[in-house]
Assembly symmetry: C2
Homo-oligomer: 263 residues x 2
């Protein structure tokens, strides 16, 4: 993710800003919707509105990819869909494995978006022997012992971790050892990986906490402004309540990480 090497001088100089890369999927989704409605062209203004960004930002983003628009007219929808798909690497097939088939892993396996263009669920892996062979989303769950073989046999380079926090690092190490170089982590823990391996993290509790912060700001900062804990003195216990949040696996039918994804 942060290895700043200087590769090919092709098409356009490399170095699309990370912020731009993160928005390309947004544009692609909006363009796809237009494509389905057979809209032939869009202006930066229209497309920006559909993607929820402003048009100057969108044009600047596209300028990193090349000059794919026509002045006075706009962008050819189909052509842009193709160019962005290619830029994102979606014109090829990416086999992924999902490790940890609990509530969340199952939800991910059932996600329609996986099965469509670009990504393919190559295997579902779980450490619980009782799960082995059980079909989830039509795919039989395989035991964790076979992880390395599965990754190698399928040429998997993207792994999804949906295990409990305690197992995540170990699973990560095994995935990386077997050749995976991109990881999507749903477990609420920081993963340590060697250079050259990308990790993206999706964490519901963090998203909720950020919302709570803003919500608090809105609700007025009057009520219960200051109630205790005046100085870094002996405050043991009181704060410990805020703990528990992450780690551990309180209730939950089985333990894994909730996932992220749309219908």
């Amino acid at each position: 993710m942060a290895t700043g090497r200087t590769h090919r001088p092709a098409t356009r100089s490399r170095g699309i800003p990370e912020a731009t890369v993160a928005r390309l999927p947004l544009y692609l989704r909006a363009l796809t919707a237009l494509s389905e409605r057979s809209v032939p062209t869009v202006s930066s203004e229209e497309l920006a509105a559909a993607a929820g960004v402003n048009s100057a930002k969108l044009r600047k983003d596209f300028s990193y990819l090349g000059s794919y628009g026509t002045r006075g007219v706009g962008y050819d929808v189909e052509y842009l869909v193709y160019q962005i798909s290619r830029e994102l690497g979606l014109t090829q097939d990416w086999p992924v494995v999902i490790v940890g088939i609990g509530n969340l892993g199952a939800a991910l396996a059932n996600y329609g978006g996986f099965a469509s263009r670009g990504f393919r669920v190559a295997a579902l892996i779980d450490a619980d022997p009782a799960m082995t062979g059980k079909p989830v989303a039509g795919i039989p769950v395989q035991h964790a012992d076979a992880l390395e073989d599965i990754v190698r046999d399928n040429g998997v380079s993207i792994g999804v971790i949906a295990t409990p926090a305690g197992a995540a690092q170990q699973v990560c190490d095994r995935l990386v050892g077997a050749g995976v170089t991109s990881i999507l982590n749903f477990a609420p823990t920081m993963l340590t990986v060697p250079d050259g391996v990308d990790v993206r993290k999706v964490d519901l509790s963090i998203e909720l906490q950020i919302l709570a912060f803003h919500e608090q700001r809105k609700a007025g900062e009057d009520a219960a402004a200051d109630s205790g804990m005046p100085a870094p003195a002996a405050v043991k216990g009181a704060a410990a309540a805020a703990a528990a949040m992450d780690e551990a696996d309180p209730k939950g039918t089985d333990g894994e990480a909730p996932a992220v994804m749309p219908a």
Copy 2:
């Protein structure tokens, strides 16, 4: 989210950078782990390593909250846990409703993190009458007709949308109409909300696409460098393949959005 008002002059001048707010939950998690191991103090260096950031950034972040450390020593773990919890608004109870109890909604409902400090699942809501009354994670699912009553009766200000994309905007409108001012959206669609309402989005397909981009960069840009679609001419069809990804609900036992969250 972007309303730049100038509120209370209390404790410290308002205006914690958004990037800092987004990292506070990370620090909180690391501190919580230290707290559980009864570690009394940490240096910025140690805590930064545990949270996966560098120490200068962490110190700068904390400087926005106030001077909670001790030079030559470090930070008091319990005290910092308390201060960050308070800053994030986690010292109060936030009732949340989850709308759309499919694969993903159920995974979210079962997520342990919800039940612990700060957030409480006040209700589960689904539009399917067959779901009504069925307990999920010990909480009976209620019908969507009761949405407004549920939100008002429970004083809910945070809503989680885990419905199919097609229903998301309508659900969002109803939540906002009933008084919800913060929304966590798992549906793969852009939501339009009035000023003063925050939306955070979690989207697996976007995360995967970002990973694919970096993966492609690593794999060498040789193979299949350029295969077709030379100009913005007649390219109908070819690119349409990249579509389908989002929207719609291909397979999937029932249709909702996968979720995001840890064990």
